[in-house]
């Protein structure tokens, strides 16, 4: 990637993001194209940005990962990566600053860039009228299968096994967006897969160590950039529990009702302004559309069940649903 006057072009959902410095976790975009309306522009500023101390807190906690409103902008702090991001309310123009002392943590440019991608850019669609979900997206002949779960539930590793053992296509293993104003279509973030280092070894995959995760995670080479198939074919929520709380036998997905599916989908949504009325309306509309798809929870024991077995449970649920229709 060599920068143009507009910067280096990256893929971000279905948009192009232009940045003066590379964001290694995002896929490269067509560098020869010209910036277009709707593209995202990221500036890097080496000076800290001070904001008024009484700026309205709209998400998170002061001193921790949080969002505040300052005039006509949102200010997002990510202390673990030493960054403060100023973002216009349309989610188009962003400026990355180091956090002012004493909050600033020792952080290199790469760590700042990684933290920006994994904690801030993934939520940007919430300012575009869309609904980003903490969900892996996999392409199948029947449409996209979304796999949700809290961090550590196994989305990334299970996704790798769904590709390897079941022939599904990995679109993104962490974040996908829905547009509530259009027929349900998934927009994968197109970030590089981030996998636990041990899981990468077990899968025989070579990855690049990520300092933001203290070396516990590695970034794999980019995922496929093929278009996501239309429609959502199934949704599976992964739940990992201690062995004593897990159902006996191999992991099996349990179908849940539409309203329960709506609650699960809502819980997976990732806003920058969680109490904005427009966000809540968009989230509800998108979740309700998503909840019409076959949805299940899949509960498994952390210690006793492998990611490969969980992947088999996801694939079995999807196959059973599809054979019934």
């Amino acid at each position: 990637m060599s920068p143009t006057a507009a910067g280096i072009a990256h893929r971000l959902f279905e948009r192009t993001l232009w940045s003066a410095r590379p964001l290694r976790l995002l896929a490269p975009a067509d560098q020869d194209s010209a910036p277009a309306p709707g593209d995202v522009h990221l500036q890097w500023c080496d000076e800290p940005l001070d904001i008024e101390p009484d700026a309205e807190l709209v998400a998170g906690r002061r001193g921790d990962f949080c969002t505040r409103r300052s005039g006509s902008a949102l200010i997002v702090d990510r202390p673990a990566c030493g960054i403060r991001v100023r973002c216009d309310l349309g989610g188009i123009n962003l400026v990355l600053h180091p956090l002012p002392a004493p909050q600033s943590a020792p952080s290199g440019t790469r760590q700042a860039a990684d933290g920006l991608v994994t904690r801030v850019l993934c939520r940007l669609p919430s300012l575009w009228g869309q609904v980003p979900l903490h969900a892996a997206a996999l392409g199948t002949p029947r449409g996209v299968v979304l796999v949700t779960g809290v961090s550590g539930a196994g989305k990334s590793t299970v996704s790798q096994y769904l590709v390897r053992d079941h022939g599904w296509q990995l679109l993104d293993d962490d974040t996908s967006a829905l547009d509530p104003r259009s027929p349900l279509r998934v927009q994968p973030m197109r970030a590089r897969s981030r996998l636990h280092a041990q899981a990468a070894v077990e899968l025989g995959l070579a990855g690049e160590s990520l300092p933001a995760y203290a070396g516990r995670k590695v970034a794999l080479p980019g995922t496929a950039l093929d278009p996501a198939p239309p429609g959502v074919a199934a949704v599976v929520h992964l739940i990992r529990v201690p062995a004593a709380q897990a159902p006996p036998g191999p992991p099996r997905a349990s179908r849940i009702s539409g309203p329960q599916a709506l609650l699960r989908a809502s819980a997976a949504a990732m806003p920058l302004e969680p109490r904005s009325h427009q966000w809540l309306a968009n989230r509800l509309a998108a979740s309700a559309q998503l909840a019409v798809a076959p949805t299940a929870t899949l509960t498994s024991a952390k210690e006793a069940v492998t990611a490969r077995e969980v992947a088999a449970g996801v694939a079995a649920f999807a196959a059973a649903e599809w054979s019934a229709t």
């Binding site: 009702s257 539409g258 309203p259 599916a261 709506l262 609650l263 809502s266 969680p274 109490r275 009325h277 809540l280 309306a281 509800l284 509309a285 979740s287 309700a288 909840a291 019409v292």
Partner: protein
């Protein structure tokens, strides 16, 4: 006689045949059954008195007016307490 109106901030969505309502203040979701969903629909068209709701429901669901009155009163008390409906 008081009238009842949907809280102007409350949000709702259909999931298949089911109605789900969100209170944006508490961020709590509520699942409505068929009768509750019909009351919500009537309130969405404009404020109603309890008697107006009873008249509509007893005709549409072919239930005894006294039983409909009890159900409507209980529902209105519940959704008013939950902040989904305001009494005017």
């Amino acid at each position: 006689m008081p009238t009842y109106a949907r809280h102007d901030q409350a949000l709702h969505a259909m999931v298949g045949e089911e109605l789900v309502v969100l209170n944006p203040q508490s961020l709590t979701y509520y699942e409505f059954n068929e009768v509750a969903a019909r009351i919500w629909e009537l309130l969405s068209a404009g404020p109603r008195t309890a008697d107006e709701l009873v008249t509509s429901l007893s005709a549409e669901f072919e239930v005894d007016p006294d039983r409909a009155r009890q159900s409507v009163a209980a529902f209105l008390a519940d959704v008013t307490a939950k902040g989904l409906v305001t009494e005017q």
